[in-house]
């Protein structure tokens, strides 16, 4: 149902051990990997990438600490913080009670007063209990205090749909948080993204909402030696061209990048060369990269997992209309999740989240090579 090439449960070891582990690559993404990465021999899962990023940043700066539900003794609800409690102790890896509003506010207050907290939400759905602090105490403080109080905090956790977890555990919050000035919103896809962007987020002096994806945690990606270096960071606000193309631009973030890459492979067989952009940063959005790509290809398909209305795709469409309207040869196509709370039944859930075929169809529509809907139903 998920259509993702390979999933491997990571052992969640810290960096020292994983550098020695070599895993064989397999399946379609590896051809892309061979093109885009230099020494592609090492692979790590997204989980290992996040764990190593947390470990390195906590080791480098003693004012960084992690707090959240089950991050300590349970080793992390999704094992992202495995081993950190043993290494850093309960003063720096705090198991909190189930009180999102309270502990998020505590994190924000600690950030006001000189520390660098990482607040983990078990899923971003629970961040709604704390959203007042994310937006009113964290995002707006530097502005309200006119630069006196900056808030170097990271809010991280899994975002978006998982597998069969129902409506209250499946919402995507990218559009919600990206709406707010004062927040930086990041959405990594690969292990390299996860490592580089999390390290960047922790070092950043502003509040960062870091949207992970539960289904990507176990996926392995090849990483270069530079990415494994402890000073590796990716810039916030810059997108990545995952695959070069010339006929249509497909933008995506998080899990949908994998789907977009698969769709690009399918389209390539039909003679359509798709350029896939991994947004990486939802706010600030890399308008320059998106526009440059659209000016080259003249057609755009935006892909996201969240609800369509007021979503990320709507913002990207407007960004292109504002800057590159004359270059567009076709209306912008928007692929998003179904406009319903996530159903539980597996077949309905499949229909509520974009699939690879949806992206392929949208790209063909953008290229005026659409097949009538009746034929595919």
């Amino acid at each position: 149902m998920l259509g993702v090439a390979r999933r491997r449960l990571g052992s969640g070891t810290v960096l020292g051990q994983l550098v020695q582990a070599l895993r064989p690559t397999a399946a379609p993404a590896s051809t892309t990997a061979a093109r885009n990465y230099s020494a592609a021999a090492k692979e790590i899962t997204v989980r290992e990438a996040l764990n190593s990023a947390l470990d390195e940043e906590m080791s480098a700066d003693p004012s960084v600490f992690l707090m959240g539900e089950e991050v300590g003794e349970y080793q992390g609800a999704y094992k992202i913080s495995k081993g950190l409690l043993d290494k850093y102790g309960p003063d720096r890896v705090l198991d909190t009670p189930i009180t999102e509003a309270g502990f998020t506010g505590i994190g924000v207050g600690a950030a006001y007063h000189g520390l660098r907290p990482i607040v983990e939400f078990m899923t971003f759905n629970f961040s709604m209990q704390a959203i007042d602090h994310i937006i009113n105490s964290a995002a707006k403080s530097n502005y309200m205090s006119s630069g006196q109080i900056s808030v170097p905090i990271v809010f991280r956790g899994p975002n978006g749909a998982a597998a069969g977890v129902g409506a209250q555990h499946s919402q995507c919050y990218a559009a919600w948080y990206a709406h707010v000035p004062g927040l930086k919103v990041l959405a990594p896809y690969s292990a390299e993204d996860a490592r580089g962007l999390l390290k960047a987020a922790i070092r950043d002096p502003d509040p960062v909402v870091f949207l992970e994806n539960e289904l990507l945690y176990g996926e392995s990606f090849p990483v270069s030696a530079e990415a494994l270096d402890s000073s590796f960071c990716l810039p916030i606000g810059k997108a990545k061209i995952e695959r070069q193309g010339k006929d249509v631009t497909i933008t995506a973030f998080s899990k949908m990048v994998g789907y977009a890459l698969q769709a690009a492979d399918i389209l390539a067989k039909e003679g359509i060369s798709a350029e896939v952009i991994n947004l990486r940063s939802i706010r600030p959005l890399d308008r320059a990269a998106i526009n440059a790509s659209v000016r080259k290809t003249t057609r755009l398909v935006t892909v996201e997992e969240g609800f369509p209305q007021h979503g990320v795709g709507a913002e990207i469409c407007m960004a292109v209309v504002e800057d590159s309207f004359e270059y567009l040869d076709a209306p912008v196509e928007r692929i998003a999740g179904a406009d319903v709370p996530m159903p539980y039944a597996a077949n309905l859930e499949r229909m509520a989240v974009p699939q690879v075929e949806d992206i392929v169809r949208a790209a063909k529509r953008a290229c005026y090579r659409a097949v009538p809907m009746a034929a595919t139903a």
Partner: protein, 426 residues
């Protein structure tokens, strides 16, 4: 109205009973309410926790001892400092009302008249490194913490010389040099932030080993009676006690949350009792008497500084004006208002100072004149200050918009081509 006309009688009676020692719980043999447990004495700590449940009897005990000794509770310098601070708060707020009705101030303005004893009683005991977190009723907390009157007034006028350059306003007073961490519009929002600042103080002491010889830096969280029904309040009482954070939760119970009487909104209106439910001492004090507040504050702050954890202090106080300048204040009964007006903290302190011969009437008058001048000057300063320039609109959204700041060569680090290859020095 169906609500009981004025429940102060019900409310005050327990206080009277308490100060008479009628319902005193058994105290440890040391006799002082806030006994000092020896470190590591686990059993003793558990015993003390239950014994400290209702400890405003401390005041009865102390007052009796002090009355017996005949010494005033404060020195002349302290008394004059307290008097000056309270008069500053009062005159400033009255000036705010005037300025608001003249259109110089706008939006939501919430005035603190009548509650000065709480702000002065607590904040004047703090060091510069200690933090204060407040609500929207924060002008006087800012003044007590040391933010100059002209900065606060200019901020209220929305001028570029305000403490937040006009970007915060009445409800969002921030001052990093004075460790005033806001100024929050949502009730309850400041409590977790204050708990976080206390957490940071403890973290710096224990993990980063940046200790001050005086002990931990203390944080005071000020909030009202309405907030005490809010979930975040309870969440923070739990976590502050769980982690023994150096914080004092100060409830300014002025009996009204806009037009909602505390009695109508709360199942058990005695807020100080909520502290022991979480394992911390809960104290009730007469918030119209600055000396009583100061006694309790001293103990609570010292407790926090020694690392013994949080205290919940409920100050019974009253706001002489409406909730905000837009509030017609029709629901509060005149006899309640006059009852509390008779207990004006400034008048009470003045009387005490004169009776105890700490200063003369002309000296106090000269302090009042000085404050009048300070506030007048603040208004002139604010009037004369420029509005924020247009360029200020987009400033300070981020501390560092591009991430990673400026590198040693003066350019944004993310524009360094080595950056994305992971080989740049960060």
């Amino acid at each position: 109205m169906a609500a009981p006309s004025f429940t102060a009688a019900k409310f005050l009676a327990p206080v009277a009973a308490r100060s008479g020692g009628e319902r005193a719980p058994p105290l440890p043999a040391t006799g002082a309410g806030f006994a000092r447990p020896r470190r590591g004495a686990q059993q003793q700590q558990t015993r003390l926790r239950t014994a400290l449940a209702v400890s405003s009897d401390v005041l009865a005990g102390n007052k009796a001892a002090q009355a017996a000794s005949g010494q005033p509770a404060v020195t002349r310098e302290e008394a004059l400092e307290l008097y000056e601070d309270m008069v500053l708060g009062r005159v400033f707020e009255d000036m705010c009302a005037q300025m608001y009705y003249r259109g110089k101030m706008f939006g939501f303005v919430h005035l603190y008249n009548g509650q000065e004893a709480v702000s002065t009683g607590f904040i004047k005991l703090l060091n510069q490194a200690d933090c204060v977190v407040s609500t929207y009723r924060d002008h006087v907390h800012a003044l007590s913490k040391g933010v100059p009157a002209r900065s606060v007034m200019a901020e209220l006028f929305g001028k570029a010389t305000g403490c937040c350059r006009g970007q915060g306003g009445s409800m969002h007073m921030f001052s990093a040099p004075h460790n005033l961490l806001g100024g929050f519009a949502f009730i309850g929002e400041g409590i977790p932030v204050a708990t976080g600042a206390a957490f940071a103080a403890k973290y710096r002491h224990e993990v980063l080993k940046q200790s001050s010889p005086d002990g931990l830096d203390v944080t005071l969280a000020f909030f009202g009676d309405g907030t005490c029904n809010n979930g975040q309040f309870f969440e923070c009482l739990n976590m502050a006690q769980l982690w023994r954070l150096p914080i004092v939760f100060v409830v300014e119970n002025n009996l009204w949350a806009i037009g909602m009487s505390h009695i109508r909104a709360t199942s058990d209106p005695e807020i100080y009792k909520k502290g022991p439910a979480f394992g911390m001492p809960g104290v009730h004090v007469d918030g119209m008497d600055v000396l009583k507040v100061r006694e309790v504050a001293k103990e609570a702050i010292e407790r926090a500084r020694r690392g013994e954890g949080p205290t919940l202090v409920e100050c019974e106080t009253y706001r002489f004006r409406g909730h905000s300048l837009a509030d017609p204040d029709e629901l509060r009964k005149p006899d309640e208002k006059s009852h509390y007006a008779a207990r004006d903290p400034i008048t009470a302190l003045k009387k005490y100072i004169i009776e105890q011969n700490l200063a003369t009437e002309p000296e106090l008058k000269s302090i009042e004149k000085k404050i009048d001048d300070v506030v007048e000057e603040a208004v002139e300063f604010a009037d004369a200050s420029p509005h924020p320039p247009r360029s200020q609109l987009l400033e300070n959204v981020f501390a560092d918009p591009k991430g990673f700041g400026i590198g040693p060569d003066g350019k944004y680090r993310c524009e360094d081509p080595k950056f994305t290859q992971g080989t740049a020095q960060v």
